[in-house]
Symmetry: none
Subunit: 198 residues, 4 copies
DNA sequence: TTGTAATCGAGACGGTACGTCTCGTCTTTTC
DNA sequence: GAAAAGACGAGACGTACCGTCTCGATTACAA
């Protein structure tokens, strides 16, 4: 993200910009955020933003990165009580709650949009933000698979998509209410499949 | 979308604007389309656009509407050969092909973004564009359910999400390559579920 | 100065800009006047200025033009009591007083500078502002010449330069104090010449 | 001009800046010269300029000073053949030629402007650049006066203004073509005065 | 001979203003 | 009375410089 950086970048300014970005995202729609406003909110010259970030999206993205890297203590881990269905249901319910939180909604939609339109950003997102999380999901499933709780020939990537894809899709497109019941049903249906089990 | 229309609206101008919108979407990124440019491309006064549409998104949306309503002859219908897995695979493969077509990509991402940020538009989308399609999907599954090919207590809405959600999610977030193999595996996994079948 | 003007220019905005220009010139140095500040002072969009004037200098110039054309009732005329020396002395003394007035100084230096650097502006200045005044000077001298008070073969243009040139030069370059005594001596010396008169 | 200079200033940098200033004046309009560009052209840090000169005008001025002090070998002297009219005509013709030279025009207009707007610079100009020249002019006239060729009570300062003032005025304001004929007529008219000589 | 202190090139910083672009509104003219 | 044309006030865009600042790296005195 950040250019070569010959060694003299002001860390204070960097943090001020990223913090201001997160603050603004809480207040106004992503599209209405201007570099001008961002700079003035951060108490920073516009040039300082243009010097270090190629686009508004990149700033917002870096802000998310800072947030996530600050929050996370070590590698992410999904709960593992041995009961896969229960664990997944818990995680999805938490996700539902989070997605319904107003203060996260705007920033996350902004991020989703930015990723949808900028392949380069999408790649960084996949590596830095989604990557570790996805790996954690895959590992939880792998443990279940080894315990014989999942099909032996299961493609774990497809499995992850099958569980979380519908959730994000419904949230992003508002194709229906995002409730904990939906999360429950989603987990159950994904685990058992659409076909009847004798 | 279109206001009451008391009777004096110029159909020629309306079509010119919508056609120009579709043309521009092929050429440039959605975000770079301006009302100004749209009006001049359509050979129309700016006021004519502001008079009849509340936002840029609404224009683009109306353009999609015109496109889809023009294309469609009667109600949409999913293939039904009796072999559900084969039929779903065929449809998903077709969707994969379409999503990978460059000339559809920009407009569809634009639409997705617009829906993600504008709940009102999302509602109209759900009703006018996605609605009929979703109904067709549900009906195909219902027939399979009645034929005993799907679980009796299956929530068809969740089922639709389970099949198409991962696909759109992967496309929009570019979280992985969108291939026909992926479509195949998705259908199979959704039908059988993650758990092992004895 | 003003472009073709297809017929829809706002007279109110035009006057607001020119008035603001004159106001600002009283307050701050010409070089510190910005288009941005001018527009905001005039309560006008920047584009309105850029649309109708090619440069800051052109605006200031137009402002002077408005001023002079507003002030002047009919053609300018120099006093003619029959006593050329007395008349010229009176006029030059008045000029000295005016040039020493703080509220005229800044604008006039600004105008002089602008003319010095922009030949196009200089031409308009020569025609619209300086022209009528210079003609009045020439005419006063011509009457004196006809009355036998000036040399028959005198080049009136050179004569005008000889009387007013030193004054403006001394003012602009601050090469010495600009007093009424200087004006008196200048007139006398110009009329009699440097050579001794027997 | 130059600050106290405690003894450690780099002569190389000083010359580089002044030379760059003169070079740039040949290429672009004075107003378009920036400290930033000047520093980079001179291969010098901006701070080195800000450390040693108070303003852009001061740099340009110092550059002129360097130029003039380099050129001049000893005190300036006007020609003295005994024929005052001929001598003055020769000098004024030379001045006309010089003022018409494109490579001198920009820098000299820049200098004139700077002097017009900055009284402090005007004082230094009067002392360092114009002073010696003006003294030379006065001395030539004084010799003529002693020889009885000029009026006994003539104010030599006014006389100098009368001869050179119109010329610079006409050049700076472009109020008419600057030709050798004009120079000739100017000298003749100044010497004889406007009034008829019996 | 070695500090040590000021100067140097470089360039980031918070800012102001540039000249351009588009917004959404308003006004004029044409059909 | 809707339409095309386009001027208007507003304000963001990305760039250029402003004048200040900090950073090693020379560099030339004083110890």
């Amino acid at each position: 993200m950040t250019p070569p950086n010959t060694g003299r970048r002001s860390e204070a300014s960097r943090r001020a910009v990223l913090t201001a970005a997160l603050d603004l995202l809480q207040e106004v729609e992503y599209a209405k955020i201007s570099i001008e406003g961002l700079a003035s909110r951060a108490g920073v010259g516009k040039q300082t933003i243009y010097r270090w970030w190629p686009s508004k999206g990149a700033v917002i993205f870096d802000a998310f990165l800072m947030l996530s890297e600050g929050a996370e203590g070590g590698p992410v881990q999904l709960p593992d009580t041995g009961d896969l269905a229960a664990d997944l249901t818990e995680v999805l319910r938490a996700t539902v709650t989070e997605l319904n939180e107003p203060r996260y909604e705007q920033p996350m939609r902004a991020l989703a949009t930015e990723i949808a339109h900028d392949p380069e950003l999408a790649a960084i997102y996949a590596e830095r933000l989604d990557g570790p999380l996805r790996e954690a999901k895959r590992q939880r499933l792998r443990r279940a698979q080894r315990a014989g709780q999942l099909a032996e020939d299961l493609d774990l990537d497809v499995a992850v998509d099958l569980i979380w894809g519908p959730l994000f899709q419904r949230w992003l497109h508002r194709s229906g209410p995002l409730t904990t019941e939906y999360a429950d049903r989603l987990v159950a249906t994904a685990l058992d499949g659409l076909r009847p089990r004798r």
